[in-house]
Structures are given as structure tokens and as C-alpha cells.
């Protein structure tokens, strides 16, 4: 099962990276005689409203999202792990500040911060720079919730018997963290990482409203997914669901690989 998942993932990655070669047309070319065309031999997923090949846009968009979203998820998870574990372990003043900071972080309207960042960037910032910054910001802002869960796990571990034993045996802070805490946090961190990937891909599309993310004509998975909100069109043209199907496939494969015995009875 794991091998199958791995193979599918590799296939998708390869298709995304090789989109220039695989696709019959560039993601930018507008075939103005065939707007909103249904799937055909020439355009396996049909064309969008401007006559651009959907498959090539999907593959090209995957390239960006598949590289950046996991990186952002990794960043968020790492920050969450560090902050949560430190606060939970050290307790006292550290923990109180941490708790206050997470509560604030969860309630503040960060979109204004993101707008300010956009305003500070030049208007013609390159799409590559824009989307990298977008995902970096998402990663940096998404730590608060997961950090709290990590901290809760650490707090309960701290009071458990094996921790008492570890300290009694003379292990010190860092040693305890590395040999005892982190391994036990792995499930929580893995779940966090896997959940963050689709969340960040979708958030990137929402940031498009603020001017961040990709700019025309570049496609992004998030934008392709937001197109699904045009519900009446999706009902009539079900092949529009392709980006969602692909994202689900990627996340499921990652889950299988990460959890080992996941889908086996």
C-alpha cells in the first residue's frame, strides 16, 4: 500500500515538474476560438473561460503549490513544536507568555498585516517572489493553534511517570526533550503537518483577494480550487473538479506514507 502511495506521489510530482513537456499547450496561451471547451483529445481537461488548457494550468499550478505548501507546513509545524514544547516544559513565566501570545495570535485580523506586507512589496514583484513570501507568511502565522496542542501534550508528559523516572536518572533538559518528548510528539506533529498542507493551499487563494499569491496569468492550485465556488458551472462541467481530486490524492498518499499501517485492516 505504501509503495503504491509513494508511486502515485512520485508520478504527480514528476507530472508537475515536467508540465512544460507533458502539456500540449502552455498554461498561458489563450485559444480564443475555444473558450470553456469540454475535454477533448487536444485538451484532456477542456479549456477555461479564456481558452487556456486546464490540464497544463493544473500541472503548472501543482508545481508551485506542491513545493511551497509542504515547506510552509514544515515551517509552521517546526515553530509550533519549538514554542509549544519549550513553553510546556519550562512552565512558569514562559508558559504564561506563550499562552497569552497564542490567544492573541488566534484572534487578531492578520489579513491587515498581510496587506501591509503587500503594500511594502513593489507592485510588479515577480510572481515567484510573491508566492514564496505568501507561503512563508502563512507558515509563520499558522503556529498558534498547533503549538497549544503540543504544549498540552508536553504538560501531560511532564507529569507522567516516565518523566519522573527520566529526571530521577539524572537526564537534563535538552536530553529529556530529545530522547523523551520529541518522539512522543511525533504523531501530533505529523498530523499537524498533513492537515496544514491543504489548509495553506486554500489560504493562498484567499490571499489573492489581498493582492498576495500569484498574479495572472499564473495559475495556482488555490485559485483553481476557488473556481469551484461557481457552483452552477461545476454542476454542468464536472471535470472542473480535477484540482480537488488531485489535491485529495496527494494528501491521501502523504497520509499513507506517514502513518504506515493506515489503510490496512
Amino acid at each position: 500500500m505504501k509503495k503504491l502511495a509513494g508511486a502515485v506521489l512520485v508520478l504527480i510530482f514528476a507530472a508537475a515538474l515536467g508540465s512544460d513537456v507533458l502539456a500540449t499547450a502552455s498554461y498561458r496561451t489563450q485559444f480564443r476560438e475555444e473558450p470553456s471547451a469540454p475535454p477533448s483529445a487536444h485538451h484532456p481537461l477542456g479549456t477555461d473561460e479564456l481558452g487556456r488548457d486546464r490540464l497544463s494550468r493544473l500541472l503548472y499550478g501543482s508545481r508551485i503549490s506542491l513545493m511551497l505548501a509542504p515547506a510552509a507546513a514544515l515551517l509552521a509545524t517546526a515553530i509550533a513544536a519549538l514554542a509549544g514544547a519549550t513553553a510546556g516544559y519550562l512552565g512558569g513565566w514562559w508558559e504564561r507568555t506563550f499562552l497569552g501570545a497564542t490567544d492573541l495570535s488566534l484572534s487578531l485580523p492578520w489579513m491587515f498585516f498581510l496587506m501591509t506586507v503587500r503594500a511594502l512589496l513593489p507592485l510588479d514583484v515577480s510572481p515567484a517572489a510573491s508566492i514564496t513570501i505568501t507561503f512563508l507568511l502563512l507558515g509563520a502565522l499558522g503556529w498558534a493553534g498547533p503549538a497549544r496542542i503540543v504544549r498540552a501534550a508536553v504538560v501531560s508528559m511532564k507529569r507522567s511517570e516516565f518523566m519522573l523516572q527520566a529526571r530521577a536518572s539524572g537526564s537534563t533538559g535538552l536530553g529529556i526533550v530529545i530522547t523523551h518528548l520529541l518522539p512522543n510528539l511525533k504523531p501530533v506533529l505529523i498530523v499537524q503537518f498533513l492537515v496544514s498542507i491543504p489548509v495553506f493551499i486554500l489560504s493562498e487563494a484567499n490571499l489573492g483577494l489581498l493582492g498576495l499569491g500569484v498574479a495572472e496569468p499564473m495559475p495556482s492550485w488555490g485559485n483553481l480550487l476557488r473556481d469551484l465556488e461557481r457552483f452552477s458551472e461545476v454542476r454542468a462541467n464536472p471535470w472542473l473538479l480535477a484540482p480537488a481530486v488531485m489535491l485529495v490524492a496527494v494528501v491521501v498518499c502523504l497520509q499513507i506514507i506517514a502513518k504506515r499501517e493506515e489503510f490496512v485492516a
Binding site: 484572534s107 503594500a119 501530533v188 489535491l247
Partner: protein, 291 residues
Amino acid sequence: MMHITKHVAGLLLTALAGAFFAATLVRLAPGADSDERDFDPRLSAASIQALHGSRAADRNLGRYYAAYLRGLVRGDFGTSYSLKRPVRELLADRGPATLRLVGSGLFAGWALGLALAIIATQGKVGALKVFTSGLSTLLLCLPAALIGLVVLVARARWWWAIALIILPKVYSYARGLLDQVSKEPHVLLARAKGLGRARIFVWHVLPSIMPELLALAGISVSLAFSAAIPIEAVCDIPGVGQLAWQAALGRDLPILVTITLLLALITRAANVASDLAIAALHPQALPEAAL
């Protein structure tokens, strides 16, 4: 008694800090001084001047915040720039809709998420595990707005949208935690002793994962409120989320600051509740574990 005062103080402090930072973020963002009436060719130059003048008082952040605090003491949350009504009235009108949406959605999301996670880990049918994981992943990959539209088309109650957004997160964490715990020594020992599945689950598995689940419960409150914003905005539900979204687009400072204040209050309250519950689970607290 000391504890309660400390918690209340913490609540208020967080709420006020939230309001202050929100005001700062909004004022610093581009377009804070712009009004779409600038673009209305019918307005005379004098009118536009007056328009800018009315917002000028709020330009100084310190003064704005001081005025806001003074108003707060009187129970006055300010007046909306664009709707010209007291913020308190607007929130009173719209609050119940959002509370119903979030409340029922949270409850249903948790119930379903936990139920599915338990079925997936405790059950024996492989196909069921595949189905629950697939469903959860699918819900994670769909935009909130789309989920809202699906709920609308299915003519289901609105809170289903919030439930379907909370569900995958609860499911993923619960599933991960349950899987991990089922491999731990004390659970294996209990199984070896021949204890029934139900007993093992209630007395050995659940207590181990309660702290994480409680922390998740705490943050899922703010998750649900955040999800309420796109759902209400896209599905035209007349709640606070829709108000927040329109206020954000219109840079309506009084509304945004007040909503952040309330959200910070609610978030903090939820998290404090979960922290207290976590502490209660481990009465043999070590000295430095102060909340």
C-alpha cells in the same frame, strides 16, 4: 478566589491587547484612509474634505485607543463608519445568528469527528477506515465557501457548514492520537490481560489523549469563529462573520476593533477552560506547572 481574579484579569488583559493590536494592524494597512466615496463624481470637493476630516480624529492611534477605552467603560463600542450605527446595536442584531451557527457547528463537528475517529481505529472493517479517511481528506481540501454552497444546495441547516469544516481537523488529530495510544505499553498490557475493548477504550485509551483533545477543543472555538467569516460572507448569513468581512473590506475600524476584542475574550476563555480541565486531569501537579 485569587485564581478567579487572576483568570478574569488575564481575560480582560488579552481582550484589550487584542483590541489594541487590531487597531494598529488596521491603521497601518494600506487603504485605511480611503473611502469609496472618494470615487463618487457627484460629491463636491467640500464634502470629500469633510469626509476625510471625520476620519482624521482617528488617525492618531494613541488618541483613538484612549477614546475607545473611555467608551468601553460606558459600554459604548463606537459607531460604524460605513453603516453609521452603534457597533453595539450591530453586534446585538447579528450575534445570535453567529452563536447558533458556531455553537451547533462545533458540537456536531466534534461529535462526528470523534465518532468517525473511534470507528476508524476501533472498528475492524477496512473499507470503513478508508471511507472515513477519504471523507475527512476531501473536506479538508475544499474551500470553506464551497462547503457552504454545498450545504445551501442540500438545503441543510447552516451549522452543517461549520461542522464539516471542524470535522476533518478533529478526526485527524483524534485518529492520530488514538493510533499512537493503542500502541502504548499500558494499553497492550490491558489487552493482554483480556479486558474488553470498551473498558480498554474508556479507562486506558481516552485518559491518555484527553490533554491534547482538550487543547484542540480550546482552539477549535477560535477555528469555528474564523470559519464562520467566509461561510457567512459567501452564504449571506446575517451574522457577525459577515459584518466582520464587510468591515475588513471597508476598513471600518470601530467594528474591527470590537470584534477582535470579543474574539480574543472568547478565545482566551475557551483556552483557559481547556487548560483548567487539563490541570484537573493531573492532580499530582509538579511545582513549576503554574497556569
